[in-house]
Amino acid sequence: MADYAVELRNVSKRFPGPSGELVTAVKQVNMQIGDGEFFSMLGPSGCGKTTSLRMIAGFEHPTEGEVYIHGRAMGTTPSFQRPVNTVFQSYALFPHMTIGENVAFGLQMDRVPKADIAQRVKDALSMVRLPGYENRKPKQLSGGQQQRVALARALVKRPEVLLLDEPLGALDLKLRKEMQMELKRLQREVGITFIYVTHDQEEALTMSDRIAVMSHGVTLQVGNANEIYERPNCKFVADFIGETSFLAGKVQSQHGEFCTVDLPSGLQVIAEAQRTLATGTAVSVAVRPEKMQLGAQNGDENQFTGRVSNVVYIGTDTQYTVQLPGEQRVRVRAQNSAPGSRPLVDEGAEVTISFPAQAARVLTE
């Protein structure tokens, strides 16, 4: 068996719900997380990502399946005996202790000699760029600083795996961006496996080596940022990550990797399919707005004429909503890269949109 830092094997978790019924939070999840990887679990709230993380930490125990850390089955090992540490969403700093005492706490629990503790606390605080903050109280620190202390407190124990539960959720946008870079830098520096839970797709895409997209307790797709964005394997992933227009239709024919899909309006779309599909299968064709162009384009398999129903100028881009025959709408995004660029067409104008077959994906669910 390959020695993964963390492995989840067929893990399920059911909780008793408010009226006594069982609620499944995590369903048959399998995940392999490599050593030194920055791995994110991404999904909307209630998708089971936090529960999965808490099962690795030992705050919850799986109803079925098993969590392995470096090949060791965790079973019902309590959290205080696991070689992992957690950075909590609420920071969870001990309010009655100073920053130094907070960071030292974990080392004291491990009965590290006093002299070593002082040095390691000092090192940990300078690592998160808070040197000399030992004697302050958590309340005297800003949110971002408290977050750094929480990181130092978890990292000072040199865990095999660091678990982060939406650690940047409470910070404002600018600080969040800063901390994202900081986290990435720290992870490279210490070389510890990071498992990061977030509902923010941009955060996951920016920082992670690999991402697991989760929904309703199930892992839908695991891959790096590029794979997840360019080759989503289902409608949910395509919709959740970035922006996507969907065209619903039925498979007409398939030639190798490409499918021809009949739209209800009688139009036909040629798009990439990841597997063989029977004629007549109901599918959605997903196209990213930035992969479509306004105006006819030689060589593009798909060319449609529609009416512009909405133009939104965003600055770097302009977004056009185009109404196709048969009440289907697509969004097209054009970069304003030319100097002094203005919208290409006005609302109400008739326009041709085009995109190559490789830019569109046939998705079944």
């Binding site: 705050f59 309590p78 205080f80 957690t86 909590f88 001990f94 309010p95 706490f105 974990g106 407190r153």
Partner: protein, 300 residues
């Protein structure tokens, strides 16, 4: 007039606090001053106060009488303080686990449990203390149960002599003031952010060390508040000792009561009251200086 009020912030402030000020004057400051004045006064043979300055009440309290030195009143004071201290300590030991249990129960159950803590307070205080006589006396409930139990295992049993005694007074005091210890401790335990316990476990602390390093220090504000709410009334109370002590256990509260009602000596009663108040003040000052009111460590 109104114009002036609009412009004068000080006048506005004064007007705003005036109801409270009036209340405090009538119910607290004036009676207190009266007590101080009376404590330096004398009495006539009928027990009326004569407002003529004397230190006699205080010298008598310290122990100097016409017959020589007698530390009688000091003994009473000491006994009251010791009993109040015992009551407080026993209350903390009983209230803490219970408050802990309630704070950890699921929210729905918590309300039921808190309700049960408060239910006894619906019955009159004196009646509840009298009920303890039924429980503790020689032919009482407790002795009957013990005797029945001893009979079952075939042991000889002589009923325990529990009432009246100082022990009975202690039981009554603890019983009476336990809710006032449970509630503040519960409140401070309940306020602790649950993720702190997880953080402690995550950092390698087992249940005991989590309790000692996180739970206990964070619940100290409740223990301090409970101590103040228990200790101060217990030092001054006289009903429990009167009923369960069978008039043998005389506390400073009994002393004051008897000076006013039986000995008809308000000046001396006032002097004892003032001394008790000063002692309580010093205790509270020392205690809060030492342990704080706890604001600085509340969770959040």
């Amino acid at each position: 007039m109104l114009q002036k009020l609009r412009q004068d912030a000080r006048l506005q402030g004064l007007l705003l606090i005036s109801p409270t000020l009036l209340w405090m004057m009538v119910l607290l400051i004036i009676p207190l001053l009266l007590t101080v004045v009376t404590s330096f006064g004398q009495r006539d043979t009928d027990g009326n106060v004569i407002y003529r300055f004397t230190l006699e009440n205080y010298t008598r309290l310290i122990g100097f009488t016409a017959e020589g030195f007698d530390p009688l009143y000091f003994t009473i004071l000491w006994r009251s303080l010791a009993l109040a201290l015992q009551t407080t300590v026993v209350s903390i030991l009983l209230a803490y686990p219970l408050a802990f249990y309630i704070a950890r129960a699921v929210p729905k159950r918590r309300n039921t449990l808190l309700f049960l803590v408060l239910v006894p307070l619906w019955t009159n205080f004196v009646i509840r203390i009298y009920a303890w006589i039924m429980i503790l006396r020689t032919q009482g409930v407790l002795n009957s149960i013990l005797g029945w139990g001893a009979g079952l295992v075939g042991l000889p049993f002589t009923p325990l002599d529990m009432y009246p005694s100082q022990g009975a007074v202690l039981i009554g005091m603890v019983y009476e003031f336990l809710p006032f210890m449970i509630l503040p401790i519960y409140t401070s335990l309940e306020k602790i952010d649950g993720s702190l316990f997880e953080a402690a476990a995550d950092l390698g602390a087992n249940a005991l060390r989590t309790f000692l390093r996180v739970t206990l220090p964070l619940s100290m504000p409740g223990v301090v508040a409970g101590t103040i709410l228990t200790f101060i009334p217990v030092v001054g109370t006289f009903v429990v000792s009167d009923i369960l002590g069978g008039r043998q256990v005389i506390l400073v509260g009994n002393l004051i009561q008897r000076q006013f009602l039986e000995a008809r000596n308000p000046p001396f009663g006032s002097a004892v009251s003032i001394l008790l108040m000063v002692m309580t003040l010093f205790f509270t000052l020392y205690y809060t200086r030492r342990f704080g009111f706890g604001e600085e460590i509340t969770a959040g």
